[in-house]
Amino acid sequence: MTTMETYWEVQTFLAYEARLLDEERYTEWLGLFTEDAHYWVPGVENRGRSDPNGPYAPSRMAYFDDTLEDLRRRVVRFTAPTAWAEDPATRHLHVVSNIEVERAETPGELLVRSVIVNYRGQGDIDAATLYGRREDILRRVSGELRIARRLVLLRHAVLPAKNINTFF
């Protein structure tokens, strides 16, 4: 269990993070991660229940399997004036819900579970909606919450979209 104050702080942090992504403030968003962060969105395979290999694994393909340096590279592409597909701008919406906060194994870290819904409107009528569950490890750095680890488990075996030009 954590205090109401901690829960409130985490919820405010995640809502702020979502707004940074909605507003494409990617450089500020990168500032929310620890230097040793791992950001992982594995591909999800449609496997049988009895299959011991499970729907995802570190050794398999992933949409993101990133260090902070990898995330920085992606932001270079997003913010390049030659990213033609970003103009006109994508209309992002990140909805964060079902937030649960508990103490993580490492003292001073929090295990935060949440549900993410990401809607993107593009061009005139293009739209895509992606759904997933997140598991974050948040750590305090100089008193501020930072994301040390994020796992996003998308609910899609076939991604119902042409790309993922956003983060979760």
């Binding site: 049988g48 949409y63 399997d65 590279r73 061009g123 042409k162 030009n165």
Partner: protein, 432 residues
């Protein structure tokens, strides 16, 4: 087909560099593609490494037909329609896994790894039925299945030429990526699937020959991974080529590592550098310089890959305006694990739905397809005229060889093969 369609399918303006837009839009053209291309050509269905032991299976698509590809008890590979011969339900609903057999959820009919019917629910009732013959009620197998250096291909057409003939002179080029190391290749773990609102041919022809888009569409991705744009590729003295055989297409230059460099990983570059000599011993000096170079490939009709990034993919048709993209990552089996991991991560970072290169392709392809909804727009032909007069004879390179990778020669060859197959009633007609 109607007279109008005969004219359309002939693509009469192609040699002059013009393409009829209806090939991307018309439903009757699409249905004919399913019959005369996807139900007849050799299609990529698996890498052998995805089927490591008896019982290992994947499900995939051949056209819009769902197919179950299985390693059988004797070690051979079988492929069957994933549809129960009783009421048609799928017999396997997972995309990958290991099984002793397959049981239909509907009425409990079960099938062995060889596709044969092994059991039925309420067997007494069937046993009393004089016309019931289990041997005639197995899963429908593909007509032919064969492998080429780790890649498994299948065709529904018993009259299709052998796989080796279907690949023809293109096998010489495939060895650049499939046979540059004595240990052969394997797929890294997993696969990624996504949906594009485009005609499958727009994606296939992009990989067949469109080096032109690399420097423009992907300027921002190159900035992210290389810290600079893609260099101009079209200088008159550039040592680069469009080559094609039987509609299979490879565009490339001889820089050796230009594609691989975009992965931004020193381990991959070191691996390529350390193995340069070995590549040359196996492939000769010229092909050794193609292993990771700026290049792209499409094996007719819908199987593409990028040397260097080693992304392998199929463009699965889902209607004239929709394509399901399946991607895998190919690595050399004998490469160190950290190099394999670097390749898997790098391929995803560059060419996957979230890749900094690939994410700029989808919109172009979707809008290039969708524009043709307009009946007036659809009547405007598209320009495919680049590189007329670039055909050359080359002392080492087989097939049809064209000078210069900024070219439309491969795209024209792709559509010429398409036209040939759609008009032919038999493989004999298509070959002539």
């Amino acid at each position: 087909m109607s007279g109008m369609n005969d004219e359309l399918l002939a693509l009469s303006g192609l040699d002059d560099g013009w393409l009829d837009r209806r090939v991307f839009w018309d439903r009757d053209v699409y249905e004919l593609e399913l019959e005369r291309i996807f139900a007849r050509c050799w299609l990529f269905v698996a890498h052998e490494s995805q089927l490591p032991k008896p019982g290992a299976f994947i499900t995939t698509w051949m056209g819009e037909d769902n197919v179950l590809v299985v390693r059988r008890r004797d070690g051979s590979i079988g492929a069957y329609l994933n549809s129960c011969p009783h009421r048609g339900n799928r017999v396997c609903t997972a995309e990958v896994g290991t099984a002793r057999g397959f049981v239909c959820n509907y009425h409990g009919w079960s099938f062995g790894l060889d596709g044969g019917l092994t059991g039925v629910h309420e067997s007494a009732a069937f046993g009393r039925e004089p016309g019931f013959d289990r041997s005639r009620l197995g899963l429908t197998p593909v007509a032919q299945l064969d492998t080429y250096k780790g890649l498994v291909f299948a065709t529904f057409d018993p009259g299709a030429p052998p796989l080796r003939d279907y690949l023809g002179d293109f096998a010489f080029y495939l060895d650049v990526i499939l046979d540059n190391d004595e240990g052969g290749t394997e797929f890294a773990g997993g696969s990624i699937k996504s949906v594009l609102g485009c005609n499958w041919k727009i994606a296939a022809e992009n990989f067949a020959g469109d080096a032109l888009h690399a420097g423009w569409t992907h300027a921002s991705g190159a900035e992210a991974m290389l810290g600079r744009g893609v260099p101009d590729l079209g200088a008159e003295d550039a040592e680069s080529y469009h080559v094609n055989a039987n509609g299979h297409c490879w565009e490339f230059n001889l820089d050796g590592v230009g594609n691989a460099a975009t992965l931004g990983d020193p381990r991959v570059m070191a691996y390529l550098r350390d193995h340069e000599k070995r590549f040359a011993e196996r492939l000769g000096a010229l092909r050794a310089r193609m292993v990771g170079s700026i290049s792209s490939v499409n094996v007719f009709p819908n199987f593409s890959f990028l040397p260097g990034q080693n992304t392998f993919r199929t463009w699965q048709p889902k209607g004239p305006h929709r394509t399901e993209l399946h991607t895998w990552v190919l690595v050399n089996r004998n490469a160190p694990q950290d190099v394999k991991d670097a390749w898997r991560k790098g391929a995803m970072m560059t060419f996957s739905p979230s890749g900094v290169f690939e994410m700029d392709d989808g919109e172009n392809w979707e809008l290039a397809t969708r524009s043709n909804a307009g009946v007036v727009t659809r009547k405007q032909r598209l320009y495919y005229g680049l590189g007329s007069g670039t055909a050359i004879e080359h002392p080492e390179l087989p097939g049809n060889v064209h000078r210069g990778q900024i070219n439309d020669a491969n795209q024209r060859a792709f559509y010429r093969r398409w036209s040939q197959l759609l008009r032919a009633r038999t493989w004999d007609e298509a070959a002539s």
